[in-house]
Symmetry: C2
Subunit: 244 residues, 2 copies
């Protein structure tokens, strides 16, 4: 993507909605299983101070790092101290103007807000399916993180290119509030929220509810409204302030 | 599941359909990328004789083994020589009568038929997204494998319990053809195929085809008819012949 344009970027973001929705529905097939989020209860003998989720996330990202995942701008890791890629990864010209991608890493917030979402999509209780629960947590976290970081970086770059003087002035002033306001497009946000809600409903419309647990489309709409969209915008502001 | 009953098992199999469908749709967002299936082209310096998919599958299963995945009967690995779990995994009473789960391991066939499916769901060509392609291949393979091995073991056990004398006689004769015939229920198979086709169509019905690639429901129906269902039945026969 040598010269990103906003409609290409928006399409990519739209395409990630199905992925997020399906990962959340997959996670919701298991109970809340709070135990997997509690430090010291992972069942790993030598890991006394971490939760099963944190361990799974670390193992997964260790593997992913070796495969080169984090060479891609929008794939920001939840962990630090990851290994270098073992693979020659061909990274295409991104068109981004950043000295390092990790100046935009919103994963701590992403994890917090995801953990707050889990009890709203899963039934309460414990079904003993700890391994599957954290496996699906990791896939959901990665999908949400990809959407937020992709949006943050590429939407901001596209908008900057459309009006470099306008954005340049706000950046020079370090005017965070002004940047936030200029980045906000209520009509676009409303359209995203309605589309996401419809996708959640549609994805489950043929489901036999005796065998699959369904999730409330409004819950996902709220998660988008209160977390995914504002977090993306926060990332856009960060991008613009770090643009070189 | 101390005493599995056929309707519980069928429900679990039905619930896995959504998972398989969503994994296939996710994979189809990337091109065929044949390079990832060719030995010696993984890009890993020290791995000259394997494909990127085989490497990813090995790394993934290594991690999964440490988390205890393969302690679960229906989770059969594609690799051998995997590590022991690092976690205390609580395995519930399965109700299965097997001396070891790996006497039913259909993963070589599952991999072959999946690789034949990929060009039927993905657009041809190479988009450079090798890491993402094999990541999704692995998730799809695991979902298909879980469905086949779960069905093989639990459906066979349930059917055996309903008529132990009838099955006992066929088993004593080593009558593979007779077992296969007795396990076949054309009406049930037809219902599964129609349901799967409808789920593929429904899952994609709201998709913006400008931004997401869709897959042909008939292709998934054929994959179920020609591979998933017969492979499950093959596993049922194996289960019965190995039942202790």
């Amino acid at each position: 993507m040598q010269t990103p344009d906003l409609s290409t970027v928006s399409s990519a973001l739209e395409a990630l909605e199905e992925t997020i929705v399906s990962k959340l529905i997959d996670r919701a097939q298991f109970r809340h299983n709070t135990r997997v989020y509690e430090p010291g209860r992972s069942g790993f003998a030598e890991e006394e101070h971490v939760s099963l989720l944190d361990l799974r996330l670390r193992f997964q990202e260790h593997m992913d790092a070796e495969f080169g995942r984090f060479e891609v701008p929008e794939e920001r890791p939840f962990n630090t101290n990851l290994p270098e890629p073992k693979r020659n990864v061909r990274v295409r010209e991104t068109g981004l103007h950043l000295d390092g991608y990790n100046c935009i890493n919103l994963t701590p917030h992403i994890k917090d807000s995801y953990l707050a979402l889990v009890p709203c999509i899963c039934r309460p209780g414990d079904d003993g399916q700890y391994g599957s629960s954290v496996e699906h947590d990791v896939y959901a976290l990665q999908a949400v993180s990809r959407r937020i970081h992709f949006g943050a970086m590429y939407v901001a770059e596209c908008k900057y290119r459309q009006h470099p003087r306008k954005w340049g002035a706000l950046i020079a002033q370090g005017n965070v509030e002004g940047l936030w306001e200029a980045l906000t497009r209520k009509d676009v946000e409303r359209a995203i929220l309605a589309r996401v809600r419809d996708k959640v409903a549609r994805a489950q419309s043929l489901v036999n509810t005796k065998v699959r647990h369904t999730i409330d489309p409004e819950v996902v709409l709220r998660y988008y409204r209160n977390h995914i969209i504002p977090r993306t915008k926060e990332g856009e502001v960060l991008y613009l302030l770090n643009r070189r």
